[in-house]
């Protein structure tokens, strides 16, 4: 284990491109997400406890739970981190001047490589799979059957909900357009193991995907999951009243981009944010804190 959960939450940024980009999604899920940073702040936020001794006891139990690798929380965080740890990320230092300013993408053009649609659909699918696997590591399989489990996932709110929205908008709607769902369907039905093997995101997370010891087994897992998704995944934007124009309208206030270059905008969001890791750490810390206060 590289870092404890309190260290991870303590160092979450309060500003920067990730926070600004997630803030733009507030219209998707109004008021659902607050950027809670600092582990004691998270304890107070999740439990509404303010007494210092109580917070300290919750903290101690939470750290113990995270420290035990058999509990699954570390692995959940690892998946979120690996999804976001692309080699081409723009360094935090070069992002410093973005705070509070409108970001000009032109200055980062040399860092941006638009993805082909195929690679982008694979990324979208893998992020959805990674989200579900992480949820299972963090929360187990609550309840007595798929009905109970469905209820747990349907209760997605706060950090979980904003992250799911970000996957669909940043990795679906913007790079692939309004028919991102259809493109994912086509991709899921036509992938071969080599498509996954050649995907950088898959290479990072395959060890944590069930069956990831071999590409063929991981492919079977990923493709079966996405095959089941194909009739539904495109409905997210419509169900939430999310349109490409609406999203771009929000983006214009923060980022200068060219209307015809949405693949570049998507590439920029990809390299300039780590929304999976950021909100993933917040989600896992919530799960641990809720359990810790239940156990002290």
């Amino acid at each position: 284990m590289s870092e404890s959960i309190d260290q991870l939450v303590d160092k979450l940024p309060t500003s920067g491109m990730t926070v600004r980009a997630l803030g733009l999604l507030d219209f998707v899920a109004p008021g659902q997400w607050q950027n809670i940073t600092g582990f004691d702040n998270a304890i107070r936020y999740v439990t509404s406890e303010t007494d210092a001794d109580t917070v300290a006891r919750i903290r101690a139990r939470a750290l113990s739970l995270y420290d035990d690798s058999s509990q699954g929380y570390q692995r959940a965080v690892s998946i979120y981190q690996m999804v976001d740890s692309a080699g081409g990320k723009i360094g935090l230092a070069s992002m410093a001047h973005m705070l509070g300013e409108k970001v000009g993408m032109l200055s980062f053009l040399s860092s941006l490589t638009p993805k082909e649609d195929k690679a982008q659909t694979v990324d979208l699918g893998l992020k959805l799979v990674a989200e579900m696997v992480s949820f299972c590591y963090a929360n187990g399989f609550p309840g007595d059957g798929i009905g109970d489990f469905m209820g747990a996932v349907s209760s997605y709110e706060k950090e979980n909900l904003i992250r799911l929205s970000a996957i669909v908008v940043f990795d679906g709607l913007i790079p692939l357009g309004p028919d991102y769902g259809a493109k994912l369907m086509d991709a899921a039905s036509g992938w071969s193991p080599s498509d996954l093997e050649n995907n950088a995101l898959f290479q990072r997370i395959k060890g944590l995907i069930p069956g990831g010891g071999t590409t063929d087994a991981a492919f079977q897992f990923v493709n079966s999951g996405l095959g089941a998704m194909k009739d539904y995944v495109g409905g997210f934007a419509g169900a939430r009243g999310i349109t490409l124009d609406g999203v771009l309208g929000q983006m214009r206030g923060v980022i200068d981009f060219s209307e015809g270059k949405l693949d570049l905008l998507a590439a920029f969001l990809d390299v300039s944010t780590n929304y999976m890791e950021h909100t993933g750490i917040q989600s896992v810390s919530r799960s641990i804190i809720e359990r810790a206060v239940g156990e002290i």
Binding site: F135, Y137, I146, D148, S155, M229, F236, V293, G294, E295
Partner: protein, 158 residues
């Protein structure tokens, strides 16, 4: 939104099925360990607690949200609003949790009761299992917490 969540559930189901078929290959997700490896006081599986939670009813829904060895947790929901967090934990994993009951004179359903911070109320069953109800909405009072503790099937924990 619901559609995509349903879809994600399908993936989870596949994951679940995969785990069931392939057996525990990692320690993280292993639902149980070989019997020989379990110390006498190892925490019981969280799933065994599920049937002891209160039932949904009267417009309120009990929604399971987390399940680990020695622990099960549910939300008490009124529509989309979360009123309370319900949990059962095996204090074998954290024995100091029993300390707060030692000097307690308060009882709920005949079991020693104690506050957990300002927002929680707990009882200790069989000197081992802690049942806790925590308010997550201001409308859910301490009296509501006691009432909901009584709705757990406490007798089955003995």
């Amino acid at each position: 939104m619901k559609k995509i969540l349903l879809v994600l559930i399908v993936v989870a189901g596949l994951f679940w099925a995969y785990r069931s078929l392939s057996g525990p290959k990692t320690t993280d997700m292993a639902p149980s360990k070989p019997v020989a490896a379990i110390p006498a006081a190892a925490p019981v599986a969280g799933k065994t607690f599920n049937k002891m939670f209160p039932e949904s009813g009267d417009g309120l829904k009990v929604q399971f949200t987390q399940e680990k060895d020695g622990y099960a947790q549910a939300d008490l929901l009124k529509g989309a609003k979360k009123l309370a967090q319900l949990s059962i934990s095996d204090t074998e994993a954290n024995p100091s949790a029993r300390d707060k009951f030692k000097d307690s004179t308060k009882k709920i359903g005949g079991h020693a009761a104690a506050p957990v911070g300002a927002m929680g109320t707990a009882v200790l069953i069989a000197n081992r299992y802690q049942v806790q109800v925590r308010s997550t909405d201001p409308s859910f009072t301490a009296a509501d917490r006691e009432a909901w503790i009584s709705k757990f099937k406490l007798g089955e924990l003995n």
